[in-house]
């Protein structure tokens, strides 16, 4: 891997060459990553994989025309020719008055908080330690139940570092690490071979929880045995924290400047208006210490700031990048999310369940989609049928459906069980009057 100074030097050289070759504005990013993946299956190493990759990408603005290119070939002479060809090809495009680098006043400058997202020690963990960790996860479950058909466990770590330089004054670097341990267990049942997974994820090796992963995966797989569908109808629904972010993705897509402009958003013109029930508050917070999505600047170099997205159900802000900001006549905020933090309630998942008269706990989604323009959605689900606060049986082969414009008003309560190892910090969610289809 190149060190940060080498990356800056390469970017500077490429920018200089691009400007000399006729580009008016240029942005260059240089990124590299190394990762290790170890998979154990039924107590034997299934695969060991080492990855090392590098990439240089360049955004070119010439004659009010725009293009973006990337390559993993770092030879300077080749890069120079690459840039020359890229500039020449850009000239064939139609002009677009909205294309330019961000205004320098929006860039991140020095002095941001320390994010705590890089763990140098991951590099000194040896291969044997990693293999042993994955084996321990395996040993928690292998042979522990006669219904087990197959167990796999894995260890993964990665270390990434990148820099970005623009021709109008931005320079920034970032480094991030990550480490994961996980297990997947498949068991025998009367009707199939249910499987379930569990994993733990952290930015720092020492903070990673290394116990209980295999056990949880086995427990979840066994509980899923022999599911049944229930009748179609309106139900109370709890969505488990681990999968709740799936329901947010259509909301997020609809908040993007590109979706607003291309009319693939159901949130056009909704700023300042209620889009969800008053219990929902979500804040984009880039500076959380050791947050999976923490950052000082986004991929355009825009200074990252904390801002409410939805406050007590009212839509406060979109995700607008420089280009679509200009096209929409809106102020650029950032074209992507950092950490999205939900205001939590007071009860945990068990307490929410205990209060449920009749409903479904959703623990997984399968397929489905949402029409961005209209907000109509339908997703396959799996989980458990609940009566009087108790699990009656697992359910599968059912859909949850509705329209995003009204669905979020059915949100009654958020749990207090936020998972902090994800950039979407969302707890379990309780909805009422949700359409489920089954029999």
């Amino acid at each position: 891997m190149m060190n940060t100074n080498e990356k800056y030097a390469l970017a500077d050289t490429v920018i200089e060459h691009a400007l000399k070759s006729g580009a008016e504005q240029v942005s260059v990013s240089v990124f590299d990553n190394r990762s290790t993946e170890i998979e154990i299956r039924d107590q034997k190493i299934d695969s060991l994989k080492e990855s090392n990759r590098a990439n240089l990408s360049i955004d070119i603005y010439v004659d009010k025309k725009y293009s973006s290119h990337s390559t993993n070939r770092m030879n300077r002479e080749e890069l120079f020719r690459f840039v020359e060809e890229a500039i020449a090809s850009t000239r064939f495009l139609a002009a677009d008055e909205f294309r330019s680098l961000p205004g320098p006043e929006l860039y991140y400058r020095e002095g941001g908080p320390s994010l705590g997202i890089f763990d140098r020690s991951i590099d000194s963990v040896d291969a044997k330690t990693k293999i042993d960790l994955a084996k321990k996860v395996m040993d928690e479950v292998y042979g522990k139940d006669e219904r087990i058909l197959s167990v796999s466990s894995y260890y993964y770590d990665s270390l990434s570092s990148g820099i970005m330089v623009t021709s109008n004054g931005f320079r920034g670097s970032s480094e991030k690490t990550g480490v994961q341990l996980g297990a997947e267990v498949s068991v025998k049942s009367n009707t199939g071979r249910p499987n379930a997974y569990w994993f733990e994820s952290q930015l720092f090796f020492d903070k990673l929880r290394k116990e209980g992963i295999g056990t949880k995966a086995l427990d979840r797989a066994l509980k899923k045995s022999d599911p049944e569908k229930v009748n179609s109808g309106l139900y109370s629904v709890i969505v488990e924290n681990r999968v709740a972010a799936n329901l947010l993705s259509p909301l997020y897509e609809s908040l993007l400047g590109s979706s607003l402009y291309q009319k693939q958003s159901f949130l056009i013109g909704k700023q300042g208006k209620p889009v969800a029930s008053g219990v929902l508050t979500a804040i984009d917070d880039p500076h959380i210490p050791s947050g999976q999505g923490s950052r000082l600047f986004d991929d355009e170099g825009l200074n990252a700031v904390r801002r409410p997205i939805i406050e007590k159900g009212v839509l406060k802000d979109y995700y607008i990048d420089t280009y679509y900001g200009k096209k929409l006549g809106m102020k650029p905020t950032s074209g992507s999310s950092s950490n999205v933090v939900f205001e939590t309630g007071t009860r945990n998942l068990d307490e929410l369940l205990a209060s449920m008269k009749k409903g479904v706990l959703i623990t997984g989604f399968i397929g489905g989609n949402c029409n961005g323009s209209t907000g109509d959605f339908s997703y396959g689900i799996e989980g458990f049928y609940i009566e009087d606060g108790k699990i009656v049986h697992p359910v599968n082969e059912m859909n949850i459906a509705g329209n995003m414009n009204t669905f979020w008003f059915n949100l009654k309560e958020l749990g207090n069980d936020v998972r902090e190892d994800d950039s979407i910090r969302i707890p379990s969610l309780l909805f009422e009057g949700v359409q489920l289809s089954g029999i």
Partner: protein
């Protein structure tokens, strides 16, 4: 086709269209007995036969059973149209070698983006660690793979200028706006990929391929009385620039306008279980999700698939025959050899209702002691190959489309989809319907849209009660995802009726 030497950095758009690639015939007069084609690929990656053999030997030095090297150089170009003009372009260049080492069913894998001998040897030694006891390996004689030619192309995308692509994209935009005054937004995307592949393994096999792929996509937005609808169409082949014709553009424009305009009157059906008629073509997504993945041999070898104890058994009606084919000319899922150097073929998964084959890669074919079916695929040189589908379709059956629709009292007819998913162990699968019709008393009535259909694979297969004689392969730009890897696939089907699935 043969290559220009070392032209790793070509960005589409510089040269004028149609300029021919001049074959280099480098080294062809040396004493080595490799074909000029083989030599041109070696020189493209700046490697020699001796280097290949050294790297393979390093990969085998800890006593592995097998090793292979997968060299890849891929150039990708995308142009995008928005606001009536082609005003942005994107390109990517990616090259490197993936080194895989097998010991039994265990895999060691490393890749290098640096193609110097030193860097490749380092990656080979890393991958070799999967084996633990030094063994003896003697270099095998090189055998050249004699490849078929499933995607012969004229010209190449690298030599096609952006300015020669623009008029077609512009034509689609103009067609769509002209066709209906409710159109308020059009986006058109054109993506071409050219991959150079060189493969060598410890058995001495040397294979090479040039794999083009092209996708065009058009998105149409219409607004009518305060409501907004969107639809998109895609087309994709392993073809060169002759893919782009006015006829194709006109056909796609008409299709997307027609479908978008019908959405305004579309409804969402009452949820619940009902009879489903799946129209010819894209409905092959049923085969892909409900059966195809569960037939992938790795899931069966590992005891994970709901089909793993069903080989040789009757799992569908006699008139159901399902194929996965890697040999259809110019099809997006076709390959002259798979990513493990094995020939591709037309594989019968279900023959007359009986499960006859899984989809195999090298590891699973060793495990099951059957020949590989040529389904070992990988996203790129950075990825470990595994069993993947190519083009998955059902053969014609004895019924007629009209007869099938007429047989349904209350159900839905579906023929456009956006995505699907399957749970291998329970067999539950879904597919998302972008467009279809209600069937009431044997007739198509109101359009329907945006519904997820969910069912159980083995049950749905057994519930295919009618199959028509109108098989069609859908040549959309489908990507199949598995374990974090995406590969291009297609699917196809005649019109079929399924006894019941859950609509919601």
């Amino acid at each position: 086709m043969q290559l220009k030497r070392r032209d790793f950095i070509k960005i589409s758009g510089i040269t004028t269209a149609g300029s021919l690639v001049i074959p280099p015939f480098l080294n062809s007069c040396k004493a080595v007995k490799l074909s000029a084609d083989a030599e041109s690929y070696l020189s493209h990656f700046e490697v020699t036969r001796a280097t290949l053999q050294k790297v393979i030997s390093a990969a085998m030095e800890k006593g592995a059973d097998y090793a292979d090297l997968f060299f890849e150089h891929t150039l990708s170009n995308t142009c995008a149209l928005e606001d009536n003009k082609v005003n942005s372009a994107y390109s990517n260049i990616s090259s490197g070698v993936g080194i895989r080492v097998l010991k039994g069913d265990q895999t060691g894998y490393a890749y290098s983006e640096d193609l110097t001998e030193e860097a490749m040897l380092k990656a080979a030694r890393t991958a070799s660690n999967i084996a633990e006891s030094p063994g003896k390996f003697s270099v095998a004689n090189i055998t050249e793979y004699v490849k078929p030619n499933y995607y012969a192309i004229r010209g190449s995308w690298e030599d096609t200028s952006i300015k020669d692509k623009i008029p077609y994209m512009q034509r689609m935009n103009d067609n769509i706006f002209a066709a209906d005054n409710r159109v308020t937004m059009v986006n058109v995307y054109l993506n071409d990929n050219s991959s150079y592949i060189l493969f060598h393994n410890s058995d001495g096999l040397l294979a090479w391929d040039y794999r083009p792929i092209i996708v065009i996509a058009g998105v149409c937005i219409m607004e009518d009385k305060g409501s907004t609808e969107n639809f998109y169409v895609t087309r994709s082949y392993r073809m060169g620039p002759d893919f782009l014709t006015n006829e194709l553009i006109d056909e796609l424009s008409t299709e997307v306008v027609d479908r978008t305009s019908r959405l305004f009157s579309a409804v969402r059906p009452e949820p619940g279980e009902m009879e489903i008629v799946m129209g010819a073509g894209q409905s092959g997504i049923l085969l892909h999700e409900a059966m195809g993945h569960a037939f992938e041999a790795d899931f069966n070898r590992k005891n994970l698939s709901i089909f793993c104890d069903k080989m040789g058994q009757k799992i569908a009606e006699d008139f159901v025959t399902i194929i996965d084919d890697g040999t259809i000319p110019m099809n997006r899922g076709s390959l002259n050899f798979d990513d493990e150097g094995n020939p591709t073929e037309k594989t019968f998964l279900v023959s007359n209702g009986k499960l006859t084959s899984y989809l195999h890669d090298r590891i699973s074919s060793d495990f099951y002691k059957v020949p590989s079916t040529g389904n070992g695929r990988r996203q790129s040189f950075r990825h470990i190959p595994m069993p993947r589908m190519r083009s998955t379709y059902m053969e014609n059956g004895p019924h007629k489309k009209d007869e099938i629709i007429a047989s349904v009292k209350k159900g839905i007819y579906v023929d456009y989809f956006s995505n699907g998913e399957v749970n291998i162990g329970q067999g539950d699968f879904t597919f998302f319907v972008k467009f279809g019709y209600l069937i009431e008393n044997g007739k198509l009535t109101k359009p329907v849209k945006d519904i997820n259909i969910i069912g159980n694979g083995p049950q749905a297969l057994a519930d295919i009660v009618m199959v028509a004689d109108d098989k069609a392969i859908d040549n959309g730009g489908g990507m199949c995802g598995k374990n974090g890897q995406s590969v291009p696939v297609t699917m196809g089907m005649p019109t079929v009726k399924i006894r019941k699935l859950t609509v919601g």
